[in-house]
Subunit: 357 residues, 2 copies
Amino acid sequence: MTELKNDRFLRALMRQPVDRTPLWIMRQAGRYLPEYRATRAKAGSFMQLCQNAELACEVTLQPLARFDLDAAILFSDILTVPDAMGLGLGFYEGEGPRFSNPVRTAADIDRLPIPDPEGELKYVMNAVRTIRHELHGRVPLIGFSGSPWTLAAYMVEGEGSREFSKAKAMMFDRPDLMERLLDKLIDSVAAYLNGQIAAGAQAVMIFDTWGGMLSPRDYLRFSLEPMQKIIAKLTREADGRRVPVVVFTKGGGQWLESMADCGADALGIDWTTDLGSARQRVGHKVALQGNMDPNVLYASTERIREEVASVLAAYGHGSGHVFNLGHGIHPGINPEHVSALVNALHELSPAYHANTN
Amino acid sequence: MTELKNDRFLRALMRQPVDRTPLWIMRQAGRYLPEYRATRAKAGSFMQLCQNAELACEVTLQPLARFDLDAAILFSDILTVPDAMGLGLGFYEGEGPRFSNPVRTAADIDRLPIPDPEGELKYVMNAVRTIRHELHGRVPLIGFSGSPWTLAAYMVEGEGSREFSKAKAMMFDRPDLMERLLDKLIDSVAAYLNGQIAAGAQAVMIFDTWGGMLSPRDYLRFSLEPMQKIIAKLTREADGRRVPVVVFTKGGGQWLESMADCGADALGIDWTTDLGSARQRVGHKVALQGNMDPNVLYASTERIREEVASVLAAYGHGSGHVFNLGHGIHPGINPEHVSALVNALHELSPAYHANTN
């Protein structure tokens, strides 16, 4: 494998000294970039873009051509796994994703296969291999999956939802069924992430988009514990290097202490939690990734710079911080504003690492 | 005024001894009740229902006829205030509320009047007077308003939104403008709530539905501080009794310590925060109201009972707890399941007050 030229991201995840705070942006390959929209149009549908390794690689690399970022992230979708389990994923204009075969009964759950990463999901592995090759060691490649709870919520509900009432109804009324579904997802996601690591992913992230809608007790049981079980099954070394795991529960700011014990190397943090107090609460157990409100990027470049300064100051001196937004970048953001963010970070962050190297 | 026959709710808000934990349910007068749907159909539109004091009173009393609840809440909408400020509120089928004149510029803000509660909002005051009269002192009547930040978010955005990006863009880019808008709303909401208290409301609640989408710093400045300023302006006694104030920031579980100092008598808590740890964190400063996940009401009556037991156990012994959901009851809930909740609470809660009277 080609030597990694920029390992700031991996070092920061391991809380090792860096020269400046590394940065990547959730959904950095996305609709806010005109070049992405062009490739997307060429591909046809969103899923066709995910399934075409060359085009998925193309869009993965686009933000790196524009901005000096410290990591690439596989272009894909968290719903590829349920799709490979036979749920029939469709994306409908102005509606978001929907499954034609949602999971509602014990029989539905028992029917679900554990997808083979190099079988039904081979297109994702191919994308990982292609991207890793085309990166030529410039920055590390992040693989990812949705969390079991987040996938289960979509699979039972059948579509996105503000409340996920059907998924919660199953959780409250038939916790045994929900756990049976989660068990299948633990195996599926672990195999999927291990497949990505074998294919070349140098770090992996678990997106727990809907964990924050649970009560503390239900979060521990139905969201965090399944993630912990996955992490225990993951290959943690590749090419002689640690493969760090990042867990991100959107809206999980109240549970950071528990999350810090789940076996992850780092936690994603959204903007509703102060990064400084988060750091205090997790101690030396994990690094932190985040946490600027994506809406700040609608503001002036001066204001963006102020907010970058404020996020850096909140985390404070030393390594263990990966700069990111607290959620995906919005399609309406002007790419110039992302440049302002990158420039501010490059200018302001070295001071936080000056005496720690 | 008629003597109040059931003051459990007011006593619990003041952390005075009660015989059992009082209960009301957010949106207890609502679409899950067939009798509500009948009155709503008779009224015409949702706003016509709000504007007709007799019909608003009718739906307010409906849940009390079915269930042994400890408080009534004015039937109205948080957007009545912006509507009275000239924004032109409309409700559109399957879309939710929308303003025809959203607020975007300094001139838009400067044009906004402070509505006279007995002028443009007299229909709300009439509803309060009618309901208070028709309650005959059976239970106390709760008045309410949206928080300034929540109203401002709707007013700038023009409609409901997952992100409220336009409102946040104003907040980030022109905090001076956002504060000018919030100042108008502080005066408007304070006058509106004082009007309701004068008309007969015996407690008031401020719904901060969108405070939880802010960073900790922005929450304190743009959401909590305006609520604090309102509370400082409120009439706190009527008929020789304290008029308690409840502040509910949905998703505000991380900020309870700050909220406990805002001058409110009680805080609303959603289900993402454990009620026992919330109680520890706020100490003796405030009572707590909540916090069962509304989705539990989709589950079996046995499961509902278990969850009631678990919420009661989390708060523990002694007064200072008003049982409620952590958000409004859903339209799809079977009213029988609400009976199961009420029965479970009546059966299980006296034990938590046995030695404290």
